[in-house]
Symmetry: C2
Subunit: 356 residues, 2 copies
């Protein structure tokens, strides 16, 4: 049996990552010990951390004045760590969903938050456009992909302020121009690793400008100085991240991933636009996420939601129930998702339609 | 080849934990998916979190007015999270080593820190006694085991203040009277799990007494309300923790662990007291850690340190080089370390002595 894993996160990882991690849990780098029980200061683990950092730099073409960090605590920790380190007086936030709203809530503890635009009026089913970002804010915060609602900012923005981007659910899914961002952070449990590690890419010159005292662990400079080894890093998630990074490189890198992601998303959205039983949540094709495809039953067919879940389950599809704040369905089709599995979902949709 | 793993942390875990985790990385709870790629909201993972919490309560006999949490960020995060949540005006700290000193440093950002006693005068080679803790401090912070220097507070203290204890390296190694503590925290990577998860046991009535605004992720009440699922928990470390907790229960629980730990420590300290080549770092037997046994070359034999490391390596012993701030050797003999491995180290010591 092949299970088709459409979970939103933690979510599908490459077989390569799973197999190598299972091996290392029993015998890591020929040590005879588990990757779970080897000192993070051992030469074997230091090599893992170094290669993971280097591969992020290589795959994303990170310029030399940026640092790559592997931290703990998820994006939720970055929500307060960003303003703690960067907010002098005010920052601008784009409110495109649940996670952006949570980031705004934490930032308000540290200064003035200007909500520059919001799509809350339509339950976050579009990406606001045409707003202006003041040049005098300390930074402009965006959430590039909205896992719950299914929108995505698919281009690198040009604004007259430093950009901080939560890319938790679309990092590595398309090439990005790192120079346009000052901070990128991403909880790893979508396109990189199991939960428990957070990737941060940060431009060094943005730091050291605030006056408030910063606890050592919250200070990005601590982790830059100690190369993500100030305290014990989450060794298994970092090891798994390295495996995924190797897999990315061996499979053509980020540009190749983007091609595949475009093809997968097209296959699914085309079916949603065609199939009489479903309606995609996001009307504007330009705003539709390539990672999280959300949809509901078409008008008049609402009562058949459960039936479709049963048909999907019969095709060994898991994880397509929509988030409780949207309802309906969500198919998450991250990097590791093969187009064949998307095809199985589309087949299930056609089968469902044929019954009605 | 059997490797004898004396690393200080991340450190030896039971074979049971390693084997079950490797299995679950390929196929978790019969889902056909990896424990790395299953939603933390899936019924299978919620069951893991629930059982882990319940087993901690059962094994440590945690009273009903306490909560058990699984967080991220290690003890280093607790160093600021504790004062952030608990310090109104002043707190007392016992300075018994590197980690206690780091906890003191972070607490100073939030109020007055009274260093109630310190063993820094003798490079932390003893546990201070005979001090008095003022009754009007918000809490009294101790580090029960000092991983680097090799001392341990082996009894539950009676003081007229709420006790906060960093038990990162001796949790589950002996029965403790939870009622004597208001907060216990422990980075998991010694006696519980791989790095990346932090166990917190907290008395609920200690919270809600400070006025400062607390970021959501730093507020213990967030994690109590959401049962450690406010954000995505580190699923693999939590799964591995559950396996170790099951292993603890199946192997007689904490009292049985204590018996074995006493026997292992006695075997090693007796040899150190007898063997002419070595001197244990901690003179007072009552202060000697049962978890981290530190020792140096005896006077006149300093030049043979490297030779002993080679003999140890020939016995497939890893991880006994001492921390750079102490030098010499450190043998960490946590719960999962079989007495047979301690015996191999003792044999290596005897062999070394016989050569001189």
């Amino acid at each position: 049996m092949k299970t088709h894993n459409f979970y939103a996160g933690p979510s599908i990882l490459p077989e390569f990552t799973k197999e190598r991690t299972a091996e290392a849990v029993m015998n890591f780098a020929g040590t005879g010990l588990s990757v779970m029980e080897v000192s993070h200061r051992s030469k074997e683990f230091v090599a893992v951390m170094d290669e993971a950092r280097d591969l992020v730099k290589e795959l994303l073409e990170v310029p030399a004045d940026y640092e790559v960090l592997f931290l703990q605590g998820g994006a939720s920790t970055q929500f307060y760590m960003v303003p703690f380190n960067l907010m002098k007086t005010k920052a601008a936030y784009l409110n495109t969903g649940t996670w952006a709203s949570k980031a705004i809530k934490e930032a308000k503890l540290y200064g003035e938050v200007i909500e520059i635009a919001s799509s809350k009026d339509k339950n976050f089913n579009y990406i606001p456009r045409g707003y202006e970002v003041p040049a005098d804010v300390d930074y402009f915060h965006i959430t590039t992909n909205n896992t719950i609602f299914g929108t995505e900012i698919l281009e690198d923005l040009d604004v007259p302020a430093r950009i901080v981007a939560d890319m938790s659910s679309d990092i590595f899914s398309r090439p990005i121009d790192i120079k346009k961002y000052d901070v990128i952070y991403a909880g790893a449990q979508k396109n990189l690793a199991p939960s428990g590690v957070t990737l941060v890419i940060i431009k060094k010159d943005i730091l050291g400008k605030v006056d408030r005292p910063i606890p050592t662990m919250i200070d990005y400079r601590t982790h830059i100085d100690k190369e993500s080894m100030f305290n014990t890093p989450p060794t298994v998630p970092v090891f798994a991240a390295l495996m995924t990074l190797r897999w990315l490189k061996e499979n053509g890198g980020i540009k190749e991933m983007e091609k595949k992601n475009i093809a997968k998303a097209k296959l699914l959205y085309d079916e949603l636009d065609r199939n009489k039983m479903f309606v995609p949540n996001i009307p504007n094709p330009e705003d539709r996420s390539r990672m999280n495809v959300t949809f509901v039953m078409a008008s008049g067919y609402e009562e058949f939601e459960k039936e479709f879940l049963e048909i999907a389950a019969a095709h060994d599809i898991v994880g397509i129930k929509g988030h409780r704040s949207v309802g309906g369905f969500r198919a998450s089709i991250y990097n590791a998702m093969p187009i064949e599995s998307v095809g199985v979902l589309v087949e299930a949709m056609k089968e469902f339609e044929a019954k009605h």
